[in-house]
């Protein structure tokens, strides 16, 4: 039972991550492989202020979300001036560098040793320590994220995002400030990823840089693509499939040292297979093709 709850909590965290990336990559067409960096920044900010200032959970989540968003703006404003595939490279660079800072700035982040002993969250005097409690907490934020995404994509703002994805020049020609829209959606995505990081830090109560590598970023974009980019339920489907399948490896008796690699080979392979035969994923609508526009 504990195990099942653990899987459900993990799925919820990945739904927050992939739904927020879906806003950026699936709806706006900006593929980013820096999502694990924002996820990590959220986790580290929450952990550091919880450990050093003993501030309450809700304040921490607010701080982490805002800092994540601010960092998103710092990365987004310069990188969004360039073309799609170069944007991917800029986010790739940001991801590699964030990891190396988390790993090397030992006095501040604990380096490879990580930050142990993150306290249990207390919300309105209620201490959350059981798996059920965490599932309710993470599930709440997961639902909130999906609701925010739903509101965004159904709004005029969301329609502009889709227009940018389909034809940037046309969107600009109709008088939309394309750059501002892109930066704003990137900031929202980064902030939500940081919130997922806070959830993760409190749930595991120990964080180290290995949870926020390039591999993790590729995993999150794989969830978006395999689930279906540009669809509200795509990330939910993708997270459920990609988090559950590797757990099945455990049941067929694969030793855990091998299973970690096989798991990554599995989703890397799936990513290639889906890009080749079904780039819109299970339920998505965006195929990452821009035939009409290559500037």
């Amino acid at each position: 039972m504990e195990y099942l709850l653990h899987i459900l909590i993990l799925i919820s965290i990945y739904v927050i991550l992939s739904a927020s990336l879906n806003l950026v990559a699936g709806y706006t067409g900006l593929v980013s492989i820096a999502h694990a960096a924002f996820y990590g920044v959220g986790a580290y900010v929450a952990a550091l202020i919880a450990l050093n200032l003993h501030s309450p959970f809700l304040i921490n989540i607010l701080c982490a979300g805002m800092l994540g968003g601010l960092l998103g703006a710092l990365v987004g404003i310069p990188s969004l001036r360039i073309r799609d595939d170069y944007f991917v490279i800029a986010t790739f660079a940001f991801q590699v560098i964030t990891f190396s800072i988390l790993n090397n700035w030992v006095s501040f982040t604990g380096g490879p040793m990580g930050l142990p002993g993150i306290p249990e969250p207390v919300i309105f005097g209620l201490r959350i320590s059981s798996h059920v409690g965490f599932l309710i907490l993470v599930g709440f934020f997961c639902g909130l994220t999906l609701w925010v995404c739903h509101r965004i994509v159904r709004s005029p703002f969301g329609r502009v995002l889709k227009a940018i994805r389909e034809d940037e020049v046309l969107a600009q020609a109709t008088g939309k400030n394309v750059a501002a829209y892109k930066v704003l959606v990137f900031v929202i995505g980064a902030g939500l990823a940081a919130v997922a990081g806070v959830m993760y830090a409190y749930y595991i109560s120990f964080i180290d840089p290995t949870s926020f590598t390039v591999m993790e970023s590729i995993f999150i974009i794989s969830i978006v693509i395999i689930g279906g980019a540009g669809s509200l339920w795509g990330p939910v489907v993708g997270a459920a499939v990609l988090v559950t399948i590797p757990e099945l490896l455990r049941f067929i008796g694969m030793p855990s040292s091998v299973a970690a690699n096989v798991r990554q080979i599995l989703y890397g392979g799936l990513l290639v297979v889906f890009m080749m035969w079904r780039p819109q994923g299970f339920v998505g609508e965006y195929t990452f093709q821009k035939d009409t526009l290559q500037g």
Binding site: V31, I33, P78, S79, R81, I82, D84, D85, Y86, V88, I89, A90, F92, A93, F94, V96, I97, S100, I101, N104, W105, V214, M215, I218, I221, S222, I225, V258, N261, V262, Q264, I265, Y267, G268, G269, L270, L271, V272, M275, M276, P279, T287, F288, Q289, K290, D291, T292, L293, Q294, G295
Partner: protein
């Protein structure tokens, strides 16, 4: 300035340049920002390691054989994956995302086969190196520099003189026009990914000799190569090499003044600066091709 700083920068520049060369060739001819080059880089080191320990070849032979084997695997990627995808109409982003998937698969195969622990390729003890104008230069450094220069010259000659090289230039400037003029576009692309992988593989072997092997060793060097290629101008022939020199000098001067730890941050700031102020790179032309 201390002469050691200059020597270190030039040595770093030589392997940045090799990677940048491979990356930008693949970008121009195959239309692909190939992240899987990071796995190619690690692969060449591991192939050399395998040839040396399991097949028990001498180190020099192992290193020399590792490069063509890795290049072949690079060509196979184009043949088996990217080319079928292109036939289905895949362009830039789709190819880039599949190269991410390929990187994940290859890197994990390396982990499965060789394990995640550090492997050592060099056979002799670390030697002090010789003294050049007050700076220490190891034999590996000297060889890295020599092969970078040699490869660069060969590469330019290849592109300018041979039919295949001119074919690759034609494909990169307009692949449809090249096809109707009788260039076998598919073949040119396979060859170009072979050569691109070979260039990255040479860098991989030198990095493996210098700092030992782990399956994830390719990411950081690839990032430096990409930054060098982009700031040098990935559309030009010699731009990536110039970008490599520029990046390495800036990094090592900052390293010398501020201390270690700022290495990657410097690369990122340089990249962002160029993307903002001179997106076409040092030697790039300001022409933007439009295929609407």
């Amino acid at each position: 300035m201390s002469s050691q700083v200059i020597v270190n920068a030039v040595v770093a520049a030589s392997w940045y340049a090799l990677i940048a060369l491979g990356f930008s060739l693949t970008l121009r001819t195959n239309g692909l920002l190939n992240i899987a080059h990071a796995a190619v880089l690690a692969l060449s080191g591991y192939v050399a390691f395998f040839l040396k320990t399991t097949v028990s070849l001498p180190l020099t032979a192992a290193v020399i054989f590792a490069v063509p084997i890795t290049a072949g695997i690079g060509g196979l990627m184009e043949f088996a994956i990217f080319s079928p995808m292109r036939r289905r109409g895949a362009r830039g982003l789709v190819l880039l995302l599949s190269s991410l998937g390929l990187y994940v698969v290859l890197q994990n195969i390396l982990s499965l086969v060789f394990g995640d622990d550090l492997k050592i390729l060099r056979s002799q003890r670390v030697v002090e190196g010789f003294n050049v104008a007050g700076a220490r230069v190891t034999a590996i450094d000297a060889m890295a520099l020599a092969s970078a220069v040699a490869l660069l010259v060969t590469f330019v000659l290849f592109v300018k003189i041979t039919r295949g090289g001119r074919g690759s230039q034609a494909v990169s400037s307009d692949c449809e026009l090249a096809a109707v003029s009788g260039v076998d576009v598919g073949r040119v692309r396979v060859v170009s990914l072979c050569i691109g992988s070979a260039s990255v593989a040479v860098a991989g072997v030198f990095i493996a000799l210098d700092t030992d092997l782990v399956p994830t060793m390719g990411l950081h060097p690839l990032l430096m190569g990409i930054v060098a290629a982009l700031i040098g101008g990935s559309r030009s022939l010699l731009g990536p090499a110039l970008g490599a020199l520029f990046l390495a000098v800036v990094q090592h001067v900052v390293l010398w003044q501020l201390g270690a730890g700022w290495h990657e941050a410097v690369a990122f700031v340089v990249l962002l600066g160029f993307l903002l102020l001179r997106p076409e790179g040092l030697l790039g032309k300001k022409v933007r091709k439009s295929t609407v």
